[in-house]
Symmetry: C2
Subunit: 190 residues, 2 copies
Amino acid sequence: MKISIGPRTLVYPTPVFVIGTYDKAGKPNAMTAAWGGICCSNPPCVAVSLRRTRYSFNNIVKRQAFTVNITPEKFVRESDYFGMASGRSQDKFAATGLTPVKSDLVDAPYIKEFPLALECSLLQTVEIGVHIQFIGEVLDIKADEELLDDEGVPDIAKVKPVLFAPEMQAYYGVGSRLGKAFSIGKSIES
Amino acid sequence: MKISIGPRTLVYPTPVFVIGTYDKAGKPNAMTAAWGGICCSNPPCVAVSLRRTRYSFNNIVKRQAFTVNITPEKFVRESDYFGMASGRSQDKFAATGLTPVKSDLVDAPYIKEFPLALECSLLQTVEIGVHIQFIGEVLDIKADEELLDDEGVPDIAKVKPVLFAPEMQAYYGVGSRLGKAFSIGKSIES
């Protein structure tokens, strides 16, 4: 039976994006954001929501750019740290030993050791409430070559992305393959 | 080594939301959307992007409401179908045998057999490109009581939500718990 559990920010799955930016002095910063996702196929766009108070907020506004780095299981601890520490007082790349790499196409750094990085140019800023949503156009994706499948697509089973369970405040991995999209439901078509 | 794989709509994980709406005649419809996610903590909001051509598009505009239903592993086939068929020509609830339930707080149906449903009131409409983003304020969540943990939160391990791997066009389940959020990264704090 269904019961009401009230208004909450709860969907499953939620991503563990790490947003890469440069501050005004050119110092690279990394911040974890779970409020986001792809929001348009053409132009290809990704949305991420940040509070105004985050150090990365003004970095994105000023540089008009950010990267979205996908957290792999191996670096879940680092991404948890990226979500708690502030780039105002800490050099998060130095603290974690991870390596910022200047993007080819936008004025933002991606994380060398993370498997997938989306280079995004700021397209729109949407005022919602305590969070402001940045919509970035994906100009390119950088991926670790050894994680690609035979079609040249990053294999989720090799990328091993981390998921976030918001109200449980816990991280999870990806499980088994369940089926082929745009295919397994065809038998239901009437 | 990282290589460029071009601009794509690829992040991991991506959700398998089923959007519940009523059409002008009051017929319930269900449509799958993978482009979306939580976008604000206060007011609690969720974003979903739809093409203008989808039957659900005008349903949302006219009723100013929708539900977001989380696909469980058990119904991955039904959600795949909900993403391919159109409510213009098919009664998708009849075809799947699933049950639409009128939401308590908004003018949209949720799916009785799905574990979690967010009742959303349309707050903003954002024009992006081929997709239009609807931002809904989450007025309530309905959850199956037997899936709640000791704190009253839906347990992701019991909900068994489905993930979508966009370019691979495949569905996956959730794997193992990796750690506690806002906790495991603390040892890195300098």
